[in-house]
Symmetry: C2
Subunit: 155 residues, 2 copies
Amino acid sequence: MRMAKGVEWALHTLLNLDMIGGGPVGSGQLAEAHGLSASYLNKQLQLLARAQLVVSVPGPRGGFRLARPLEAITLLDVVEAIEGGTQLFQCTEIRCCGKIGELSPPPTGVCAVNAAMRRAEQAWRQALADQSLADIRVELDGTPMVRQIVRSALT
Amino acid sequence: MRMAKGVEWALHTLLNLDMIGGGPVGSGQLAEAHGLSASYLNKQLQLLARAQLVVSVPGPRGGFRLARPLEAITLLDVVEAIEGGTQLFQCTEIRCCGKIGELSPPPTGVCAVNAAMRRAEQAWRQALADQSLADIRVELDGTPMVRQIVRSALT
DNA sequence: GAAGGTATACTCGGATAACAGCTGTCCGAGTACATAAGG
DNA sequence: CCTTATGTACTCGGACAGCTGTTATCCGAGTATACCTTC
């Protein structure tokens, strides 16, 4: 079980978009900034656009720009935009199959195993929702001249 | 991103092993209990045996039995036994690649994005570690005659 | 009748294919700009 | 000189292969049991 690489790409790219500020930036430039595949990064940016985290501008001088300030974008927003809203643990209801399933009466409540796993997953989602990209930007600002580097790399 | 199906199989199977109690049960019987593939469940049980959650008994009348009471088995134990101890978010250090990587000085601390994702993952692992299989058994005991059904299905 | 050896059947254990989803790439649709022609 | 039509180049957007990891299966190694032979 591993998170899609696109999540990492999206997070760094969103931070770069904020560092630049202003007009839209093409996926090609954003990819060169970190040595990524432009086409595949574009795919991830399309997912972010569908989730309304960025807005896409077609045509020359087009590209992507942030749809909201970083304060209004949580880690959960990005993860769900890239990965989709699916659950980590997907209950197959095997309690209803096989000999035990045949001998048991039709279950009424939620599977106890599923409930326990969802509780843990909920803690994860909550921790993701509690951190915004602005919080990460604060840590990044500790390193010197980040903004200048990003701006010179993306122009 | 989806958790391996084997985690669900392992959790239900561990609970069944406790309901039965006593002697070892073969993977074939455990698989029939929920209509699973015996060979593949056996693979998962081998992973549980390596993690010392169950002990395997070879030969006829052999099988698997719990190595510890359910109180001493957490959800995290099972997840890590099946999935391995790998992180959900694996940082590729793309901050060191591309134009930004070339222009930036060699980074000293941990990547801020990675740190934030690990914090959330830590919350998940903690929530998994806080729940033992005995807690799930308590919920299961609410449903009537679970033990009799499991025992009659596994004999 | 008892002891020992042997064959057997049943289990785990690991090595081997089949499938799905992530990863990466390509080409078409659409748009803003630049250019050139006409009034 | 200003306006307008047109061509062009650059962008997003979605459709198309490749590859890693999960899912599923099969066969060999090892052992307790049952049986048969022998004393």
